[in-house]
Symmetry: C2
């Protein structure tokens, strides 16, 4: 089946396997030490695995993926489509139809189970409307922006980095462009993610890039904030934004959550909800949208101990890692998907404790991998890419994106970041509300306390109503501040207390300095935060691509091979004919499925059974239940179940349906188990 | 237990029962005809039921409801709390903590099952961001507003109707105010819901109402639009709003949904999602918020046939109806809750087909009642109130609010409205996209068609490139328009065709008029829409009030008696002591519960078992599983289950736990069934 191109790619891998096969034979012939032979065997196995996986990854199934066919199916069967289409549509906004809705709901339910329930997380549900000061503190008001260039004549806006990327790619395909310029362009692409406005302006000027639509000149890059602004209340002066992420809602609730967890660290909070980003000119369907569902976890942990109690449970799990040390391969990302896949496989499996910052981050990456596998992402098209240092926020300690390979290239679908204690500190600075946990010290410590106490009788005489305010300001001084106050009182006999810009001259008689020693049992710490952040729409799109199939020998017959767990509808119910005799059988099946809360779709239209199978396969219904004349001939009634992906069928009693399909959906049984247990049914109609 | 006031209210009901008891004895003594005795017995039963329900409704349980205690519990155990509290908070915005989140998720899951799955609805998930033209068409841009008055000095805003209501209520409690003025105030309250700005201004002026905070004068009422405005994209000229309801997303997708349903009527689409309303000055906690989760159904139906196929399934269900014909009792709504309850009960049970507009609306009201019962609303505090004609939108044909009685009075939680074909027509007018379904005619009809066909050869010569445009304009003309065109051509030998304001003079040679008869089999109809619309936050708040209990004899010990179906956590797992011997038992229980996906909370803290029960009762955990020394003495392990509401306990094997509790949660078994099956366990520690 392999094409010459594929063979050319496989040849060096085959040679590499052969090389080690030969070597081992040699070693054995020479009676070499066992340790040398063992080493060679390990290497041989690794090379064989690489060859095998590359063969699978290059198989024609992916190669022949036809995005237009998938998009046609998704639109026609209303998985999702552009919002407000009858009003001309809005780019970057999509509505989910019944199929997409159910797929999404099933993915979210699994996410809730996999993370919130299994890990005992604290779920919260915060508002999208967010007052400006909160997002000022988090840095979004000042920095959550993309660089934008405008057509100087008609004002049309483009995202600067996307414009550069697209313009260079066009240049690459232009035969008239010199090799030197192409090399220059390649170099720009490799470094683009770290570019600021000046770098981009330099590139646009040097390459003489214009508006791709009008050919007009472009402005210098301008920062465009990606948050949607609004106001709360009737006065118009309470500025707010729609949240760009759900995370801040968790941070501002930190105190309540810590209290809910009885003051103990570590704990994780999670939120499933909407995020909003006013993208400059979104394209690429579900991958870049202006309103989206995200699932975020904020795991709060002692910054000095990021070990994870359950780490041993995932310690042996292998992930495809793409650490920044081998990111020199990054510039090769621009090539075709199959080449990219090959490159990634070459990054070898690395046990992540050697490269990932800490156990907690590693644990969440492994759980992320498990989740994506559960919902049906193809493991051969998944990798974890570490951020380059210039990609990460300055406060972040480490960040690994789960990237999924689609026909658009590798797409960031999940971010796994160690954000240190940045967010909690920022909100503390903005509100003066301490966002800390108490950590028990290994042993009590004596600390020296210096306090300034007001002499209220005298203070009241001098400052009247303001005395209270002065007393409170004195109480809030740190030991260091009081020490400096004491020095002033001694040397100058005067201390100027500053309260909100107002100076209050205090003389020594107004203040008593008190010094004592105190035993401290706990220490206040600002927790570090590990943040896994899931973009559900992107994962769903990748899942749709990975599940899309064409029947061999009949490429027009496309279908979606969903995992039963996430399939929008679990069963189709198909009477073999419209004969009234079958009605009792159909009703019995419906009742049995309802009892187990299994969604189904009855297709009693007049098409042939084969055509009806094709129609239900198209929307990814994994199990087709057919009621035929055999079904109702004797009691108990029997039916056949057809497994859409393999088209194989078995026959069983109606009363066994609910439990079996529930088990297949939950993954407690596989289809092969069912085939082993129940008699095969041979159909001539598929 | 009854107070003298309660006895006074019950006395006439007792007398009414006694009257018929006596009557029946008399009739029997006189050997009266059986039919007379039967009639009297029916009446006696009705009177007894009324007495009984009134007794229950007036029982001290509700009377002693303490909102502050409930609010304290909800805050302390983080069901929900004000958003951004560390930033000073925002009125009308609330964050849900782990308990509230889970309660809400369980309610939504049940809603999805009860409506979307059981009724085979088409679920959609549309964006919150909505372009201005969509909401202009729906009427929201022009009319979705509340009247607001401002403090003339400091600009503070008040919702005019709320200000009037609160001011009149204050007046009512003022002993210095004359009876005449009070009567006047009472009259205003009864008519307030139908007031426009002029009516409200008149009342504010007549009663001399001032700002309740400063005592300053107030402005005339100003319309304040309740939608949150924003812009989409970088140019700033694409105006949009956050949707005030999810319904419009369904209407603009009507064509896709009809197609998904293979062109057939009736069908229902549903959406669960956020709604946003910029309330002027929200108070009353979860009842009036600025961002909320709603569940809406749009049931599309032939306007000439609103019968419902499954109507017979609910035809016997009894609802408490409050039709507008007895809305003269409306003015009595202002009295105390227990009096209100009594009034409502007196509205008698009415079989709704006599008062509700059509079967479809009636069906949804009955299903609404079922849903509210399932999640745990107290049926004695639920009524369906029909809108007065001046309350309804002008296009609406009928509207019934499901109102739930809380300590804030009767609260509208669900609207059930027949919106006729208003929305689809409005979007058709705005977009020129036909939003219609085809209805098969009982028999084919012959219609006369008149068409204007362009003579393209000549038209091309005269109009060059514009010929195509003219041809297309001619094709789109209705038969009436062509007839008038023909008349012009005959009389004036000229017809001026207008395309987007441009005139194209057409002479007879350019056009052929074609007339023929056509057999029509279908008719295009704009469907009517029945819309049930659920406010989940309001239902949740009512549910919390209705589930709130105090232990008899220990009023400090409050708890939430949730139905297991919606309880945020299904089980607590409590080791009787910290002894290591119990660990294996605990682990076995956890494993068994996980296998059945039942949420649990282990409380192995050092408190007494009684104190730990109280703590888990407080957050509404319905089942407490205790592991004691007996549990692990022999295999198979056994444990006790304690039913929080009744505090009764049973003992059973660990391996039986999962199935039993799943059944109790799903309502397949009741606690009394479990008590009958398993041995009772007597605890001395509760």
């Amino acid at each position: 089946m392999a094409t010459p191109e594929i063979e050319a790619q496989l040849a060096p891998l085959r040679a590499a396997v052969k090389e080690y096969g030969d070597l081992i034979r040699d070693l054995k012939a020479k009676s070499a030490p066992k340790i040398d032979i063992d080493k060679a065997v390990v290497e041989l196995k690794a090379r064989k695995r690489l060859l095998e996986e590359t063969e699978i990854s290059l198989a024609p199934k992916e190669a022949s993926f036809d995005r237009l066919k998938l998009e046609d199916l998704l639109k026609r069967r209303f998985f999702y489509d552009q919002s407000f289409a009858i009003y001309g549509g809005v780019t970057g906004l999509y509505d989910f139809g019944p199929m997409g809705c159910s797929l999404k709901a099933n993915m979210l339910q699994e996410w809730r189970k996999h993370f919130i329930l299994e890990e005992g997380m604290l779920e919260v549900d915060c508002t999208s409307l967010t007052p400006e000061p909160v997002l000022k503190a988090s840095g979004h008001v000042d920095r959550f922006a993309d660089w934008m260039v405008k057509d100087v004549k008609n004002g049309e806006c483009f995202r600067a980095d996307h414009l550069i990327k697209n313009s260079i790619e066009k240049l690459m395909n232009d035969k008239k462009v010199s090799a030197d310029v192409k090399r220059d362009g390649e170099d720009v692409l490799a470094r683009l993610e770290g570019f600021d406005d000046k770098d981009m302006h330099e590139v646009i000027t040097r390459f003489k890039f214009k508006s791709p639509i009008t050919g007009n000149d472009l402005t210098e890059p301008i920062a465009f904030n990606l948050m949607f602004p609004t106001q709360i209340g009737p006065t118009g002066d309470f500025k707010a934004f729609l949240r760009p992420e759900t995370a801040q809602g968790i941070f501002v609730n930190f105190k309540r959550l810590l209290e809910f967890n009885q003051g103990k660290l570590p704990f994780a909070a999670a939120q499933i909800g909407l995020g909003f980003r006013n993208e400059i000119s979104p394209r690429q369907g579900l991958i870049r949208v202006r309103e989206f569902t995200m699932c975020e976890i904020e795991h709060f942990v002692d910054p000095e101990d990021k070990s994870f109690p359950k780490f041993s449970k995932i310690a042996d799990q292998k992930l495809v890692l793409f650490p920044h040390v081998i990111n020199w391969m990054e510039h090769q990302r621009r090539k075709s998907p199959s080449e990219m896949l090959l490159q990634t496989k070459m990054t070898i499996y690395i046990m992540f404790q050697k490269t990932v910052a800490n156990e907690t981050l590693g644990y969440y990456m492994a759980r992320c991998h498990q989740f994506l596998m559960k919902v049906g992402i193809d493991g051969r098209r998944l990798r974890f890419r570490q951020h380059l240092s210039n990609e990460m926020a300055h406060y972040a300690q480490d960040c690994w994106d789960a990237e999924i390979l689609t026909s658009y290239g590798w797409i960031e679908c999940v971010g796994n970041a160690d954000r240190a204690c940045y967010d909690l500190l920022q909100h503390y600075k903005a509100t003066n509300v301490k966002l800390v946990a108490e950590k028990k010290l290994p042993q009590p410590v004596d600390v020296d306390i210096v306090e300034a106490q007001a002499n209220m009788a005298l203070l009241g005489k001098s400052f009247k109503k303001e005395a209270k305010k002065i007393q409170s300001a004195l109480q809030q001084m740190t030991s260091e501040q009081v020490t400096s106050l004491e020095a002033d009182l001694l040397s100058k006999k005067l201390f100027n207390l500053n309260i909100n810009g107002e100076a209050y001259p205090l003389t020594p008689d107004l203040i008593n300095i008190k010094k004592y020693s105190k035993k401290i049992h706990v220490q206040e710490i600002t927790p570090s935060v590990i943040e896994p952040s899931y973009g559900i729409g992107r994962i769903m799109y990748a899942l749709l691509e990975h599940s899309f199939r064409q029947r061999e020998g009949d490429e027009q017959r496309t279908f979606l091979a969903f995992k039963p767990l996430v399939a929008p509808i679990k069963c189709s119910v198909l009477p073999i004919s419209a004969n009234d005799q079958l009605v009792a059988g159909i009703e019995a099946v419906k009742e049995e499925l309802s009892r187990y809360e299994l969604s189904y779709k009855v297709d009693d239209s007049s098409g042939t059974i084969g055509r009806r199978y094709a129609r239900t396969d198209e929307i990814g219904i994994p199990f087709g239940i057919t009621v035929d004349f055999e079904s109702v001939k004797t009691t108990p009634y029997t039916v056949t179940i057809r497994h859409a992906e393999t088209m194989s069928q078995i026959r069983l009693e109606v009363s066994e349906l609910g439990r079996l399909i529930s088990d297949l959906v939950a993954g407690r049984q596989q289809w092969t188990d069912a085939q082993a247990k129940y008699p095969k049914f041979e159909s001539t109609t598929d």
